[in-house]
Amino acid sequence: MTATPTRNPGIEDTSAGVLAVPRRSLGQRALSGGTVLALVALVLFFFAMRPDVFLTFTNVRNILYQVSILAIIAVAQTVVMVVGDFDLSVAATSSLSGSVAGALLTAGQSVTVAVLAAVAVGLAIGLVNGLLVAYLNLSAFVATLASMTSIVGAAYLVTQGTTLFNFPAGFTQLGQGRLLNIPMPVYLAVLIALVAWAVLRFTTIGRSWYAIGGNVEVARLSGISVRRSRLLAFTVAGLVAGIGGILLAARLGSSSAVQGSDNLMFSVAAVFLGMTVIRSGAANLGGTVIGVAIIGVMSNGLNILGVNSYVQQVVTGIIIIAAVTLSSLKTRSR
């Protein structure tokens, strides 16, 4: 064998120094804008169908009110999905937090105690999920499916299988009170979303989450403490889900073991929809908000048109499939 110089006819030459900025075709642009366009189209459609009702102040406020709790749960889900995991227990956690608050209130405890205890419950569940996933290396699916099962059981125990109600006004105000004619949960959802957005965008932990979600091995070898970061992500998710549960109980004026359980699938759907919005295809808060808005607008619009709620559920599933199909087309065309 002789020492021949390396030639690599196998690989195309590109002239040195020329920066290859990938061009995106019109189709790719349309795809990435597709989810936003879908939201606009939905709004226009319902507006055209019921111009007298759909875009009125009262109805828009209604939509915001209806999606505020879902938005909070979806924030929790976004954080975990940024890290590349997911959390099946978010909705159950919110139910248990709401149930704990309800049980303490009916037992005569003060609003402060009830709220703090409910927040602590969310935090503790998130911590346990995080330990299971990050330190015991269980898959997020198995760990959170199992914890969801136990959490639902615990919520039945706390509520003794009934619906708790008759909460003091100081508590229900959190969910039903209004400021400037806008319900409190809307403010809180906006606040939580803004804080989460800032944490994801501007803090070292947020950027570590994105790094881990992008490629866990590179992150590990770059010295990011992967375990601690994942633990923290689940803990934050539990905490936020707990807050969501408190607001839900306050809004309904009651707590039961299964209330808000729809929020699990809807939160995952919202994050998936949001992942189609940005180029990297990662979970992101802006996208999640758009996802939540799509779900909210659709459910409200179909309601106004008098479509029954079972049909709404069928349509929601189809929308999720469409969104995920679109995003897979997008990654395939890369």
Binding site: T2, T4, T204, G206
Partner: protein, 523 residues
């Protein structure tokens, strides 16, 4: 490009001075002394040594499984050694983890693990160090500034806000080098950095590496491409079976000598003798069209090894994929053993017709890494090991045992996950899986990519054995010496068409290369 590979006389090796940049003797930047490491009682390293000077590019060579990766992981704190010492700048050190090694200035860049595609260039550059922040709040502005400084040191102008996944391969490599520099690396370890780079990009990388060397950085360069090693490196260390074999100046070595030291025996000729093809045509293709493939016609005979070359994007891989039924054919005909195959034939029909493909991307297309050898082989043979929809374990065992024996797959047992095998043995599993279908035509895309020299020779021998048994082998390769060495006849493609056909016995790289660039016959 000229290479200094021939020492004037063997006797002169002792007088050959170290390369100029490495001449500064003194404390080594990094030294691994007599390092040992075992996993489950198996020695991965035993008496491994590596001593790198500041301001030199030091090649670390050895076959797959020789212990190079394990040694790198020991010196970068991924694994704690069982025995031996690490010395950094004359001081004994113990790294408790990657971070500790990074802090001490030792950084490794891994081929597949260099960047995070979904985050920005700036963040990728600064990934290894503390992000510029105050009270946990990241300062994007100083992040960009700092990332820009590191990239400018490499003469790179890459938009910092871009997603790293949208960069070209060489830009991604540059980003990971910049990241190492950002952590103030004094010892930079590169594992197969040129695997996915073009010629021009390799030049660009070499310029950067040389300038880092001249700044006094110690560079450890791991590569299977010996030609590159001889062009770039100052000294080399060869490992075998987890042990240190030799360290010497590159200028005092030859490629042949290095190969025989790596293999531990005289590799003899890398390529077996050619055989004689029969007159019986097994596959013929006329006016074949598909994505990236235009009007391709050729035929191949039983016992023939047909090499297909061309630049990336020339349609060579696509041609194989169309033949295997993995990609759509838009017009033309494929005839296998006298029978014309349906235009719409997909992989199962092509396998049935006797055409099997060993794909290019072994890890993602060839094997299921987490599954056992047995399951991987069974996967492609479900129709032949089952009757009435029920799979027979005994029949699977038969084909698995035969495959492992015939191809000499080195593994503890058929139940071992394929992911634990070396690249060469993984490739043999892919071969075994396909050969169990007894194909008349075996298509191979880059049959020896990522496989060490010793196993390469084995793969060439297997190809020749198959041909001798009457199989037609059609193999795509991007390496011209390989194309000429393993084939009987070579087709070169250019922009989807066959631009040249050459008898391998009197082929010449210059001529093949001119066909690759679409030039007419130069002779």
């Amino acid at each position: 490009m000229t290479l200094m590979t021939e020492p004037a006389e063997p006797a002169s090796t002792t007088t050959a001075a170290a390369a100029p940049a490495a001449a500064a003797a003194g404390p080594f930047a990094l030294e691994a002394r007599d390092v040992s490491k075992h996993f489950d009682g198996v020695h991965a390293l035993r008496g491994a040594q590596l001593a790198v000077r500041p301001g030199e590019i030091h090649a670390l060579l050895g076959e797959n499984g020789a212990g190079k990766s394990t040694l790198i992981k020991v010196v970068t704190g991924v694994y704690a050694p069982d025995g031996g010492t690490l010395v950094r700048d004359g001081e004994e050190v113990q790294f408790t983890g990657v971070r500790a090694a990074n802090r001490a200035g030792v950084v490794a860049l891994y081929q597949e693990l260099s960047i995070i595609p979904s985050i920005s260039v700036a963040e990728n550059v600064l990934l290894g160090e503390q992000m510029p922040s105050r009270g946990g709040i990241v300062s994007w502005r100083s992040m960009r500034q700092r990332a820009r400084v590191h990239l400018e040191r490499l003469n790179q102008r890459i938009p910092l806000g871009m997603l790293a996944g949208e960069l070209s391969p060489v830009q991604q490599t540059m980003v990971s080098v910049a990241r190492a520099l950002a952590t103030d690396a004094k010892v930079l370890i590169l594992d197969e950095p040129t695997a996915s780079l073009t010629d021009t990009e390799i030049r660009e990388l070499f310029v950067v590496l040389r300038s880092l060397r001249d700044e006094g950085v110690a560079i450890v360069y791991v590569s299977h491409r010996l030609e590159e090693v001889f062009e770039l490196c100052d000294r080399l260390t060869i490992m075998r079976n987890g042990s240190h074999i030799t360290t010497r100046d590159v200028s005092a070595s030859t490629i042949d000598e290095v190969i025989s030291t790596m293999v531990g025996r005289d590799p003899g000729s890398l390529y077996p003798d050619r055989g004689t093809a029969t007159e019986q045509v097994t596959i013929s293709v006329s006016d074949l069209q598909g994505r990236r493939v235009k009007d391709v016609s050729f035929s191949a005979r039983a016992g023939e090894v047909l090499g297909i070359g061309g630049l990336a994007g020339s349609g060579r891989s696509e041609l194989l994929r169309i033949l295997a039924g993995a990609q759509k054919q838009t017009s033309g005909t494929i005839t296998v053993a006298g029978t014309t195959v349906s235009m719409r034939a997909a992989v199962p029909q092509m396998l049935e017709a006797g055409v099997a493909l060993v794909p290019e991307e072994r890890r993602s297309q060839g094997v299921v890494l987490g599954a056992t050898i047995r399951d991987n082989i069974a996967l492609a043979n479900i129709p032949t090991v089952s009757s009435a929809g029920v799979v027979s374990g005994a029949r699977i065992s038969t084909i698995v045992e035969r495959g492992m024996r015939d191809l000499q797959i080195k593994a503890h047992s058929p139940r071992q996950p394929v992911g634990e095998l070396s690249g060469g043995n993984q490739q043999k599993v892919v071969l075994a899986k396909m050969l169990a279908r007894r194909p008349k035509v075996l298509l191979m895309d880059e049959p020896t990519r990522g496989i060490d020299v010793g196993t390469k020779a084995e793969i060439y021998r297997l190809i020749r054995q198959l041909a001798a048994g009457g199989t037609t082998v059609i193999a795509v390769s991007s390496e011209l010496p390989e194309l000429i060495g393993m084939s009987d006849r070579v087709l070169i493609m250019h922009e989807g068409r066959v631009s040249g056909e050459v008898d391998a016995a009197d082929a010449d790289e210059e001529v093949l290369l001119s066909y690759c660039y679409g030039k007419a016959d130069v002779r």
